[in-house]
Symmetry: C2
Subunit: 98 residues, 2 copies
DNA sequence: GACTCATATAGATGTTTGTCAATATGTTTT
DNA sequence: AAAACATATTGACAAACATCTATATGAGTC
């Protein structure tokens, strides 16, 4: 995963609503209407957020009839985790402050 | 670390220049002028980016004479890593797609 | 004290972004 | 077929943002 992919993911996670969506999805697949219930946003806004989350690869959409089921993409998430761990690894070598 | 802190960090990392700065700092403390050399941006712009990185807690500034030395804040970074790992953990329990 | 260097702040500007209302698409139900 | 439901798209708009120029602050040097 290159730096541009990471930046894209971070930009996606940089919105509180989207971060909350990710947290909800970490508990398992959810359909759009279930997600919508938890927010004070309109349906088009949720749709917009889901598009951004899908485009950066964090979320996958599964169409089933009129429903869209969203779930985390474990591979992307894991690659992202590895990137963050890489940064932390340097700290353990004493290269960071604190 | 609560969700708002994480969102703030992600917003900071969501800019390619700032992400690159973080990567450079993961190799050890650097002063502002050294960082500036690596980018095609003006000094005020770098200063702005450093402020954002400091405000979210990812970076610490150490003043020494006329120089500012910047380094990663290992604690914040580690807390952030833990948050991301938490999301991944759910995936390992089979709650994610892919 | 004047000059240079490193950094910060202020103000301006064009771009991106989060949001909404309106509408479209496609599916299920009656 | 019509109505209801879930989602996506379009267009508009205000707020946030990245960037610049100009200027200020403050430290070292001549």
């Amino acid at each position: 995963m290159n730096a541009m992919d990471v930046a894209l993911i971070c930009r996606a996670l940089g919105d509180s609503n989207r971060l909350q969506i990710i947290q909800m999805l970490s508990d398992g697949e959810k359909c759009g209407c279930k997600l919508l219930e938890q927010f004070e946003i309109t349906q088009p806004t949720l749709s917009h957020h889901m598009k951004i989350l899908c485009e950066c690869g964090l979320v996958e959409a599964r169409k089933e009839g009129k429903w869209s089921h969203y779930s985390l993409n474990g591979e992307t998430l894991d690659a992202f985790r590895q990137f963050v761990e890489g940064l932390c690894g340097s700290c353990r070598e004493g290269k960071c402050g604190g």
